[in-house]
Symmetry: D2
Subunit: 291 residues, 4 copies
C-alpha cells in the first residue's frame, strides 16, 4: 500500500469486484498474459469464500497500452465480466486524475496537497481550487492553479452549487474537500458525477458534526484524530479511507487541539487522496478496501 | 509522567486542588520546606487563571515521614487548605495501594497486571482476584494471589454484589475491572468506597456498549483502540485515564481485531493502574488530569 | 500482512523466488488452477524489472492436499522451477512449525510467546524451552512444555552447544532466542539446520552489542526500540524481520528504559515469530521481504 | 511539554541548573513570590540526589516585567545563584527569538517552519533565510522574509562562512539548518555566538553521515526516522532534542523512503525549534532535557 507507482508509461490498472468463486485470479492472469501484458502487482481480498465478494487490483505493463485499450476492454468484458458477474474499471497509470479542491479559510490541508503535488508525490492534475472565501487566493496563485471564489449565500446555497456544477461537470475525476466548511447537498453529489473525499477533524465515529475539538476537550480524550472518507448523503457516515491520531494531554486547550489536529488532518487527507489517485481504494458498501 | 517513583522510603505525595489564585505554588513550597521536607517533583495545572481551578501534585522527601504525618496534615489543613479553599490528600509512597482485580474469562489484561506486579513495575498489593467464572484460577495461583469465584446469577445480581462488598469494603483502595463482563450497579459504586477503573475495548466515545470490535468492523475504521476510565453510573461515560490505538486493515476480521485489540487493552489498562497507584491521576469533573 | 491464516485444512503456501521476467504470476496461477487449486491470496515483489529478483507468496486451497502433494511438487518443479530458474518451497498451513525457545533469566519475551501460543495466535508447536539457567522453569511448566536446563560453562561452551544440537537436530523448524544471553557460534548455526530468530534490545543498527539501554541513555535518544532478526555469523547484523520503538524522556533512567523496552521487545519478537510461522518472511540477502 | 505558551505579556521564564541539594524549589518560589510574581508552571529534573545536577524551568507572571527586570536579575544572582552555585538565564516570553534559517534545495523543512511561523505556532521572528542555492527564493518571498543567496565555493568555504558571520553576528538568537547540505566549521560555531539546530535524516545514532536513506534501504530497516540536534564540532554527535520514526516496508525504494522521511523531518524539526524558542530545552552534556 505504501509505494508510489512510478514510471507510468504503458502501465494499466485493472480493478475488479465480483461474487467470490474459485478461479478468478487465474482467469485474470490468463487474460492479461494472452493480451501480451506482464503483471507487476496483484492484490486481492475476499469478504468470505462462501457468499462473499471478491476484489482485485492488478497492475500490469503492456507495450502500446493506449492503442491496445479497446481490445483489452473487450477481452475483460467477454472473458471475465460476463463469466464472473464482475464490475470492473481499467485506468492508464500515465493519465493523472483531474482534481478540484474545495477550501474555505483554513490553509493547512490545501497547502499540503499543493506542496505534495508540486513535488510529484501524488499522480493528479489539480484543475482548480474553489473557495467560498477569497482569503487563500494569494497562497494558491504561485502554484499556477486557478483559484475560483464562489461565495455561498446562506439563503441561496443552490445558486452556489449550480455554479460549482458548471465548473466541475465533465472536468474533474475527483473532488477533495480540504476543510471546506459547507454541507454538500444530496443533489450535488448525484449530479456532479465524481467521487468526493472529505477530511473530518475527528476520529470517526467519535465526535460527528460540528466542533469536534471542543467536544474532544469536554470528553477528556487522550488522543485526537482525523478521518478521510467518501462523502455520502449522510453527514460524516461515508466509507472511511484513512484515519490517524495524535496524543494530547489535559494541558492542551481547544486552540492547541486544533493546532495538533491540523497536522493529522493534512497527513490523513494527503494519504487518502494519493491512494485514491493510484486506484488503491475500492468502496465496499459503507467501508473501503485499501490495497 | 513516564518514570516510576522508586525507593519510596520517607517519600510523600501531596495532591491538592483549589480555585486558582496567585501564590499557591510558593505557599505549598514554604509549608513543605518549613516542615523539613525537600521537594523532588512538582506538577501543576490550571484550567484558567480567572475563575479556573488549580491542581498540583508535589512529591517530597521528609525524614521520619510516618512519625511526622500528623504535623504535616495539620500544617496543610491550617496553612493551605483553609487559606485556599483546598481539597487535598497526602499519601506515603512507601504504602502501596491495595487492589482487587475483577476478571471473567479473558486472561490478557489480568495476566499483564499480575506479571507487571511481580516485576515490581506497579506500586500495588493485589489483595485478591474476583471472577464470575472459575476458568482463570490456574493462571492466577502461581502468582500467590487468592482467586475468589463469585458466580453471578442473572436473576439475582444483587446477591453477587453483596458478596463482593463483603470481600472488598475496607480491604481495598482500588478496584480494577480487567475485562470483567458484568455491569456494575450504581449501589455497588456508592457502597464500595473505592474508585473503580475499567478497560473498555474501543476508543471512547466511539463504540459505546457491547460488541465494539464488531461495530468497528462494520463501520470500517482504520484504527481500533482501548480506553481505561473510572467507572461512574453512566456506562462507558466515566473520566478517561488513558487511551491508545493500533492500525488495522480491511483484511482483519472481527476475530483478528479482537486479537490486536487485546494487546492495546492490556497496555492501556496497565498504564492507567500504574498512574493511579502513583497518585498521578486527578479527577476533574468528567475528565482527568494525569501528571 | 496483518491477518492470521485461519482454518488451515487443505491450504498450501507456495513461496518462490527467481530472476524477474514477464509471465511469472500467470504461470504460477495456471499451474495451481490446473492442479485443481483455488488461489486465496497472492503477494509478490520485484527488486527491479531489469536484472531484479522476483518473490511471490501464494496461498491456495486444494482439496486432498496431503495426497496431492507429490503431484504438486512435481508440477512446480517441472513447469515453474526449471523454466524460471526458481527457488521454491511448499508448506501445508495445517502443519505448524516446530519451535524451540531459548531463554536465560528475563521472562517477558518467553511468557509473551507462551501466552500467545496458548491463545492460538501463532501457528506453531513449542517443542521445548532451553535455558542456561533454572530460574524460569516454574513459569514454563504450567504450559505443559518441557523446560530443559543446559548450563553454559564459560570455559566449555562447545559442550553446551553439543547438547543443544542433540536436542534440536531434526526436531525443530525454528529456534527463537527470547533474550537468550549467550553468543551463538557459527558452527552451531551451520549444523542445526533451522533458522534462528533473535530479539535485540535496540533499534538496529543503533547500539549494536551489549548494554544498548545504557548506551541509549548516554546518547540521550528520545525513542528506544527493539529489533527481531535472523541470526547470522555477524553479531546483530542479520536480516531484520521487524522493529518498533517507544518514546522516552530525559527523566527515564536505564532501569526505566529497560522496563519500557521489555514491552517493545516482546511485541516485536512475537510478531516476527508469527510472520515466520506463517511463511510470510523471505530472506533477500541481508534484508527480508515480509508479505 | 505539549502546550504553547500563549498571551506572553509580563510572562518570564527562569531557567536554572546547579548541583542538586535540598531546598532549591522552595528557594526559587520564595524569590519569585517576594518580587510579586505568580508561578504559572514549574518543571524540574535531577540527575540524582547525591552528586547529581538539578535543572528547573519556572514560568511566572509579574506585572511590569520589563521595568522590574534588573531587580529580578539581582535577586536571582544574590539570593539563588550565589547560594546554589547556579547557572541561570531569564527570558521574557513576549520577546520572540530571532532566527536565521539555512536551506539548500529541499523545501519541505523550510516551508513547514515558515508556515507554522505565519500561523503563530512558534514564538520566533525569522530574520532571514540563507541558502547556497537560489532555487527556493520564490517560495520564501510570499512570506515576507529576506532570502539571501550565499553561494558556497568548494575551494573557498571560508569566504561563504565569513559572509554568514557578517549577516548573523549579533542579529540572531538561533540558527536552524533546515536540510542545509553543507558542513558547518568549528570556527563558525565558535564565532557565531548562537546555538545551531540541525535536522538529520536518520534515527541517530543509526546512519551517521551522508546518504542515510540509501543506507537504511541496504540495511533493510523497518522504520526510518529523523533527528533534530544541536550542532557541535562532531558531525551528527550533538545533543538530541527530538526524534521520530515512520514505518516502511521492503516495497519502498530509496526515493520513497526519502518522501516518507521528509514528513518526519519537517515534523521533528518544527517541534525542536518550537521547544527551543519556548526555552524548554536545556543542554546537559551530550544530551538534552526537554521540559
Amino acid at each position: 500500500m505504501t509505494s508510489v507507482d512510478a514510471s507510468p508509461t504503458d502501465i494499466a490498472r485493472l480493478i475488479i469486484s465480483c461474487p467470490d468463486q474459485p478461479g478468478i485470479v487465474a482467469a485474470v492472469s490468463d487474460v492479461i498474459t494472452d493480451l501480451g501484458g506482464n503483471i507487476i502487482s496483484l492484490d486481492q481480498y475476499s469478504t468470505g469464500v462462501a457468499g462473499g465478494r471478491f476484489f482485485q487490483r492488478t497492475v500490469f505493463h503492456l507495450p502500446g497500452l493506449a492503442a491496445a485499450r479497446p481490445s483489452i476492454e473487450e477481452a475483460v468484458q467477454t472473458r471475465l465480466a460476463a463469466r464472473f458477474d464482475m464490475e470492473w474499471s481499467l485506468t492508464d497509470a500515465g493519465t493523472p486524475k483531474r482534481v478540484a479542491i474545495f477550501a474555505s479559510k483554513a490553509d493547512h490541508c490545501l497547502l499540503d496537497l499543493l506542496w505534495r503535488h508540486r513535488r510529484g508525490e501524488i499522480p493528479m492534475d489539480i484543475a482548480m481550487v474553489i473557495s467560498n472565501h477569497p482569503d487563500l487566493a494569494d497562497d494558491v496563485r504561485p502554484f499556477g492553479i486557478p483559484y475560483i471564489h464562489v461565495p455561498v449565500d446562506k439563503g441561496d446555497k443552490a445558486a452556489a452549487e449550480a455554479r460549482h456544477l458548471e465548473l466541475l461537470k465533465g472536468n474533474v475525476d475527483l473532488i477533495v474537500l480540504a476543510r471546506y466548511m459547507q454541507i454538500i447537498s444530496e443533489d450535488f453529489l448525484r449530479e456532479v458525477g465524481a467521487p468526493v473525499i472529505n477530511i473530518h477533524h475527528s476520529f470517526l465515529p467519535a465526535f460527528i458534526g460540528a466542533g469536534p475539538y471542543r467536544k474532544a476537550k469536554e470528553r477528556g480524550v487522550k488522543l485526537i484524530g482525523a478521518t478521510a472518507h467518501y462523502v455520502t448523503k449522510d453527514l460524516d457516515e461515508g466509507p472511511i479511507i484513512e484515519q490517524d491520531v495524535i496524543r494530547v494531554s489535559h494541558e492542551d486547550d481547544v486552540a492547541q487541539l486544533t493546532r495538533f489536529g491540523a497536522d493529522v488532518e493534512r497527513a490523513v487527507l494527503s494519504r487518502a487522496v494519493q491512494w485514491h489517485c493510484e486506484d488503491r481504494v475500492i468502496r465496499n458498501g459503507q467501508t473501503t478496501i485499501v490495497f
